[in-house]
Symmetry: C2
């Protein structure tokens, strides 16, 4: 049969998975046939673009952002041995934590060198050539090193299957002498399967009956709560079908934001324990039954563990198990369960509609002051969003502020609420914007704090070069506002160096100023004017908006979270 190189095999698999952009930084070990004929498999690939990042951490973030928006695909980051891969490590760990399918390809020394262990550059100098792989094992679900061509295809398929079915990062090292080894192409005819293992039919039947019973008992007072894993494990369509059939009110945890359209008439807003809007808290916590789908109960995602929904009134659906009240059903996954549940349940249209769901909206407050407060800013930008926008929020005041803002239908919301690594959103915006272009989504709009921006700012350069045109709101509040509120209101270490934010784009790549626009808005009128400007809203250039905010002002949600955190810390020390 046909023979192709290992590199071609891998790239064909990526293409089958819908990958069109691969991120990374070159290095002398990665994916090049060396010395001759000097083929470069990625650069020469007709349908996969090489996106050269400024550094590897940013590349990993970009792959994460690409995977989140692209869906049914994966993000790919290519780095070089040691220096490159370790630089990417925090980005890969974030993808692990937040369940994003990312393939990390590392170019490593030849199989001969891996055995003989000469003191090569990029090594630790002590002959431990496996040290980097051991580190990677901590933050990826599968690893493979292609040490011989016989198993190469099977190994590639194994880790890619783990990547897509478990929605977590995987790690692949390719020795330089394996890059161009020939292997049979045959396996490529069978596409990789993303179907999770089937549920046991008997247990599944039992579970369905039991849920139906509880639903009947709850006499229509049932709410659905969607969360991160509904997105990651790909049950959005299934949830929508369930909603159409039952018309149960639906709420979302922060990490599930946009899993169900926030414009849906049965959507009631964000539930986040004690940080929730009181009317939402009331509806969710007092329902007779809560059907929780894809919950991920991390501290910030649950209002610092302040959920007040007793297990006895909860059914939890997960990707690998189901829990009905206190009973656990391992192996009963929601991807197959949900459609069956939808057909199993009767229509509740009339009944459920008797439970009114107040429309989730956020009005722009009337404030005397000209200054842009958080209370003003978030509802005001809320009016600016359009259908299909991709909205990215960095950890900090942004990730809290945005929660209260309903997003339009078909919009996509990205934030890293569990892992919370600042600087993430810049790389994410690059990857997200490229995926959005593939998927013909709308604008990519980023909200990032001045402190976070400083970690990864150089990736603006790659955005300019890749011709993506996000709108970037930089919240200039003179430092680490969230950290001030969590600890050290006036600590010097929470101050940052003020930058000339509006010069960044022209300095970092748009040297003649034709590809970008930058603005500073200092007051409400200035913000209004810009947001009402049709040219601005078109977003056909990359645009950066510096928003001048008060140093101490903070969104309501963050304030409450800080207060709860303080209380918990005192309790832990026995001070309360």
């Amino acid at each position: 049969g046909e023979q192709i190189t290992i590199s071609e095999y891998l790239l064909t698999r990526l293409e089958q998975l819908g990958v069109t952009s691969v991120f990374g930084v070159p290095g002398d070990f990665n994916m090049r046939e060396c010395p001759l004929p000097r083929v470069d498999y990625i650069e020469d690939h007709p349908r996969i673009d090489w996106i050269g990042n400024c550094n590897e951490l940013n590349a990993a973030y970009a792959a994460d952002g690409y995977a989140r928006v692209k869906e049914h695909s994966i993000g790919v980051v290519v780095t070089t041995f040691g220096v490159g891969e370790l630089s990417a490590m925090n980005g890969i760990a974030g993808a692990f934590s937040e369940m994003v399918p990312v393939l990390h390809i590392v170019g490593v020394p030849s199989t001969v060198q891996l055995k003989n262990k000469p003191m090569l550059h990029h090594t630790l100098g002590d002959g431990r050539f496996d040290a980097y792989t051991k580190a990677a094992e901590q933050i990826t679900v599968s690893q493979a090193t292609l040490m011989n061509k016989t198993h190469a295809a099977a190994e590639i398929d194994r880790i890619l299957t783990d990547c897509i079915t478990r929605a977590r990062p995987v790690y692949l090292t390719i020795p330089t002498d394996m890059v161009a080894e020939k292997i049979p192409a045959k396996r490529l005819q069978v596409p990789l399967s993303r179907t999770p293992p089937p549920n046991d039919p008997d247990v599944e039947k039992y579970v369905l009956d039991r849920i139906a019973e509880l639903v009947e008992e709850a006499s229509k007072d049932i709410v659905i709560l969607v969360d991160a894993c509904a997105i990651r494990h790909d049950v959005r369509q299934e949830i929508n079908d369930l909603l159409t059939k039952t018309r149960f009110p639906v709420y979302s945890a922060p990490m599930g934001k946009t899993a169900v359209s926030e414009a849906h008439d049965r959507y009631g807003g964000i539930y986040i324990g004690s940080i929730s809007d009181p009317s939402i808290k009331d509806k969710v916590e007092n329902a007779n039954l809560i059907l929780s789908i894809g919950a991920l109960k991390s501290d910030f995602n649950t209002g610092m563990f302040t959920y007040s929904v007793p297990t006895s009134r909860t059914i939890e659906l997960h990707s690998t198990h189901t829990q009905i009240r206190h009973a656990l059903f391992p192996g009963i996954g929601m991807k197959q369960l949900l459609p069956k549940l939808t057909s199993h349940l009767r229509q509740f249209h009339e009944g459920a509609s008797q439970l009114p769901v107040p429309h989730y909206k956020l009005d722009v407050p009337k404030e005397q002051d000209d200054k842009i407060s958080h209370a003003f800013f978030w509802p005001r930008v809320g009016q600016f969003f359009q259908k299909k926008d991709v909205v990215v929020a960095e950890t900090g005041t942004s990730s809290f502020g945005i929660l209260d803002v309903p997003l339009p239908e078909q919009s996509v919301f990205l934030a890293q609420i569990l892992y919370g690594s600042i600087g993430w959103s810049i790389g994410i915006t690059l990857g997200a914007a490229l995926a959005a272009r593939d998927k013909q989504l709308g604008r990519t709009i980023l909200f990032v704090g001045d402190g976070s921006f400083q970690l990864t700012v150089q990736e603006l350069s790659t955005m300019i070069h890749s011709k993506v045109t996000p709108i970037i709101f930089v919240l200039n509040n003179k430092g680490y506002n969230i950290e001030r509120h969590l600890h050290g209101m006036d600590r010097k270490y929470n101050d940052i160096v003020n930058w000339k934010w509006t010069s960044l784009l022209t300095t970092l790549g748009d040297t003649d100023g034709t590809l970008s626009n930058s603005y500073t808005v200092r007051d409400k009128a200035g913000l209004d004017k810009l947001l009402n400007d049709a040219e601005f809203a078109k977003a056909d250039k990359i645009q950066l908006v510096e928003v001048i905010l008060d140093k101490y002002d903070t969104p309501r949600g963050l304030q409450v979270a800080a207060d709860i955190g303080e209380k918990l810390a005192k309790q832990a020390l026995g001070q309360v």
Copy 2:
């Protein structure tokens, strides 16, 4: 006895080790007493400065640079759980590889949380709270987690002792509830010892006699070759004493550059196997005996393994062992051996002086062309260096070009020739400049490629804020020149986005332009003029010089290394 907090204990130890600056990025788990009285041990310390970096990788690099220049001290970097520490990982690995004593302090959740494993932010979401420590074990020589106050002081002392005696990074995690726990201060009265374990007297005696014999047999034709570990394991003074006594000619490997003053009258230049200047190659390889001190035989440091010095004519001194021809003497370390060797050997003044050592110098060539070539640039900047300058070279054309330039006495040379992580030099420059200020050294002068600069550029901001005033030469050659020569001369992935380099300083912190100067030099005359400018040379502001170079032009040494590399790769594939 007196009771102090664990934080105070640690900081006092750091102070005893001469630490005056600590680098890092704040996070809500690190080194703060929480919730009350909200003491911040580092910010409040009267004699240790907190240097807030833009990101953690840069902070780790800065700690590395600080340790390299400060000597007899260590670099310290403080990060937060997961997101911060993993971001720093590549910087710590580089310090491991190149043997630099760095302490990585990580603020982690409370001891209770470490046991109960709630789903906190910054975790992997699966309860593995030890994953980050396991990763750190791969790239540090000791680790400690302060889980109780009883062992805290001993644990701190253990890892700090490992750090200073083994000259490698160590890892310390401090749970939030341990930060302010009280412990006895008593141990602090005994300073930590950096003395390596004593050599066995009998073996040492035998080794000394044997070396003396070989020295006699070699009838005065003996050269000394110094390398990285002579610096890292602190035997520079001992080598100087040996030189004064014997007057043997001395050469240096690239990583040993400035271990012996390059202005020394018995210093002959850099030996780097087949890449060496032919006259140097000849002298070293044809000596009757080579006394190699602190060798580190990595690929780039040995001219791609092209040393041509037979073991039968070599004596190698290392920190933990000695090798005389083929015989190994484990446990005989050079720190104690060298002074004894110096007194053991007779004076060779007359004899050794008969071996002339051509003075190591590099003339500025006469070239017709106006363009700044590498052949012109390096000798020309060589004339600019002054006594006590700290010279930093990034991996790429810079680290090769600088090798041929003799540096003045008491100057310090920094490059990462073994680990070779690009972007390193920017963080290094910050740390080096702060240490140079402490030690009253001269100017800090950096040579960095345009490609490398992009990885870590934001740290200019911290330099401005910390009021250090390095001179930064950015070699603008439109991309990854070294990679072009190693592979892919015209590959697009070796091109980078051109930046407005001279706007960087005003954009990233010197907003009113009073603290910095930036220049572009396009031709020989322009470079001459700038280097002759006394104001420029004073270096009392931070200065950035963009040097316009040809896209393909490269230093001689790099060209030769690329050719050798190509040949080796062909051999490996059986093509030759």
